[in-house]
């Protein structure tokens, strides 16, 4: 079929891909701006020009350097990593499960991870009440907690995959199973809470308020590795996800090993969710909504969808965290409350605009 070789690429298509690349660059700049704002704003206002000085370790007022380097920087990095990780996991799950409702939260993975974490707190004393400047409750042995969260998360995702492989498992069945699993693990967490002592209970309840402020440098380090590897893995598979979007049979016809892509993709999504939930608690909404916001703007092509979704997730969580630290300053609201407050109106607007437009 050598006759296909001399096709002239439509200039409109070149312009179209440039436009999508432009959207991604704009999102990067937006994230960078939010990052600087997140470092500057809070109970103590640090002037913008002092932010880079503090970061670079140049001479600045002592308290500012500590606030920025030890408190706000890990905070902001955790928001960027968790936002990107949850959003990427959501985008990948929506494709590999062929379900627009796919996300760590709707399929019960977040609740499972929270149960795993509560189990670690209850059974192995992995949480203690502490009064630190960043959080009232911290997790000791966070690596171990992450591991139990991961185990529970994997169990939930394997059940979802198993149900998905049954004959006649429609997208509706998958989401309903996710809801059922979510309830099951929530009930399990409640069961543990019922028998918990005061400190354990406080740790568990605090857990369910997702909060990026819980992360120290070590947690940020773990998350950076896992989110980095996970997002890289999803990016390598971008064409596989595009193929699965075209239908399972079509994907197989194109040489994609659909079952394997699905299984490994779910495992990576579960791992991302588990680590983020184990360190920060349950943060819903980001994984479900960020991919859809991006789909409505630049379409379903994973070459562009994945990077744009990660950036949108990071931006949403950074903005939510900054607002959470400002509205009731010096008190800090859990970020999970704010992600929905900020994300839901934006999402509803996009939904309505498209229906009205078509």
């Amino acid at each position: 079929m050598s006759h296909l070789n001399h096709g002239r690429i439509p200039s409109a298509y070149t312009a179209y891909t440039r436009l999508k690349t432009g959207v991604i660059i704009a999102l990067m700049l937006f994230c960078a701006a939010l990052f600087v704002a997140a470092l500057s704003l809070g109970a103590v206002h640090v002037p913008l020009r002092e932010v880079p000085r503090a970061l670079l370790g140049l001479e600045t007022t002592g308290a500012w350097a500590i606030i920025i380097r030890d408190i706000r920087l890990p905070h902001a990095l955790a928001a960027i990593l968790a936002g990107a990780g949850l959003a990427a996991a959501g985008a990948a799950m929506q494709s590999i499960l062929r379900n627009p409702l796919g996300s760590p939260f709707t399929l019960g993975l977040s609740q499972a991870a929270a149960f795993g974490a509560a189990f670690a707190v209850m059974g192995f004393g992995a949480g203690v009440m502490q009064s630190t400047p960043t959080a009232a409750v911290t997790v000791v042995r966070s690596g171990f907690t992450a591991l139990t969260a991961f185990g529970a998360c994997m169990a939930a995702s394997l059940i979802i995959i198993g149900i998905g492989r049954l004959r006649g498992a429609t997208p509706e069945v998958l989401v309903l199973s996710g809801v059922a699993l979510g309830s099951l693990f929530s009930a399990g967490t409640m069961f543990l809470q019922y028998f918990a002592d005061d400190v354990q209970l406080a740790v568990m309840v605090f857990w369910t308020f997702g909060d990026v402020g819980r992360a120290g440098w070590r947690e940020v380090g773990y998350m950076a590795v896992v989110v980095g590897l996970g997002v890289a893995f999803f990016s390598i598979n971008r064409w596989n996800y595009n193929a699965i979007d075209a239908g399972d049979q079509t994907a197989r016809g194109l040489g994609v090993r659909v079952e394997r892509v699905r299984l490994v993709g779910m495992m990576v999504a579960a791992m991302l969710t588990a680590v983020i939930v184990a360190f920060l608690g349950v943060i819903g909404f980001v994984g479900l909504v960020c991919p859809h916001i991006v789909r409505r703007i630049i379409g379903d092509d994973h070459r562009f969808l994945l990077p744009a979704t990660c950036l949108t997730g990071s931006a949403l969580l950074l903005a939510a965290d900054t607002v959470a630290r400002l509205v009731l300053a010096p008190h800090v609201l859990p970020v999970a409350v704010l992600t929905a407050f900020l994300g839901a109106p934006a999402f509803l607007y996009l939904l309505i605009r498209r229906s009205a437009g078509s």
């Binding site: 096709g7 690429i9 049979q249 079509t250």
Partner: protein, 264 residues
């Protein structure tokens, strides 16, 4: 010989045979229509040829290479498959066709990939739709996009699963005429499953009738007899010649009440 299928047997998980000893061969530039009632195994046969379904035994050769032992990607270099149902997502026509280059991609796209997609769009008259979203297309346009996607795989053999089932009369004729033209001009071969025998008579070089997972008959369009159609579908028909073209017409209703008529 472009495509040779020998002795294909396939079963579902419960061990029930769905295909039994299917065999045929096809030359370059030729079109084979697979016909038969619902559940006869037409779709299964296409999936078996493409390695999408495990066989109990059987051999599929494309240009004398045994394809079923190849890596899925290598199969996709030789066989292009258009499924019966195709999802129309929020993706541009150009990108949907670009997906057909997937089996050839190593890490990322090359300029040649984009160039081949453009070539395929020109060939199928899709250039003006290149930047439309798939979910804005008509059924006929979507079907053509799927054929374009299979073409940019640069396969030797095209497998089309009921490409006309959701199309109106004009789109049926246009789509099949297009496929036949491309297959002839570019020395490929194609296997098409069809419900409409008359489309098979008009566009195919060979007709393969499946019944209960077996080959009931394999004939050239000109040699088709009413008895064959009646036995395969259980419907009494007349096969007449109209403007030099054979046509199958079901008998009028009063005759149908007595199905024995016309059935040997």
């Amino acid at each position: 010989m472009m495509l040779a299928v020998r002795d294909i047997c396939a079963d579902y998980r419960n061990g029930q045979l769905v295909l039994e000893n299917i065999g045929f061969s096809l030359d370059r530039g030729r079109t084979l229509a697979v016909l038969g009632p619902n559940g006869a195994g037409k779709t299964t046969l296409l999936r078996c040829i493409n390695g999408l379904m495990k066989l109990r035994h059987g051999i599929v050769r494309v240009e004398d290479i045994d394809v079923l032992n190849l890596h899925p990607k290598a199969i996709a270099h030789r066989l292009g498959y258009v499924a019966q149902r195709n999802e129309a997502g929020r993706i541009k026509v150009f990108d949907a066709v670009l997906l057909g280059r997937k089996p050839h991609m190593v890490w990322s796209l090359s300029k040649a990939d984009l160039s081949k997609v453009s070539g395929a769009l020109d060939l199928l008259g899709l250039r003006s739709l290149a930047l439309r979203y798939l979910d804005e297309l008509s059924g006929g346009e979507l079907q053509t996009v799927c054929i374009a996607r299979a073409l940019v795989q640069e396969p030797s053999v095209l497998l089309l699963d009921e490409p006309t089932s959701s199309l109106d009369l004009k789109n049926r004729l246009d789509t099949l005429a297009l496929v036949r033209r491309i297959v002839r001009e570019h020395h490929m071969a194609t296997v098409i499953t069809l419900h409409d025998i008359n489309l098979g008579l008009r566009f195919a070089d060979h007709l393969l009738f499946l019944k209960d997972g077996r080959v009931f008959a394999q004939v050239e369009p000109n040699a088709l007899k009413a008895e064959t159609v009646a036995a395969v579908y259980g419907v009494a028909v007349d096969v007449i010649r109209h403007n030099g073209q054979k046509v199958v017409i079901p008998k009028v209703e009063s005759d149908l009440l007595n199905p024995k008529q016309g059935v040997p």
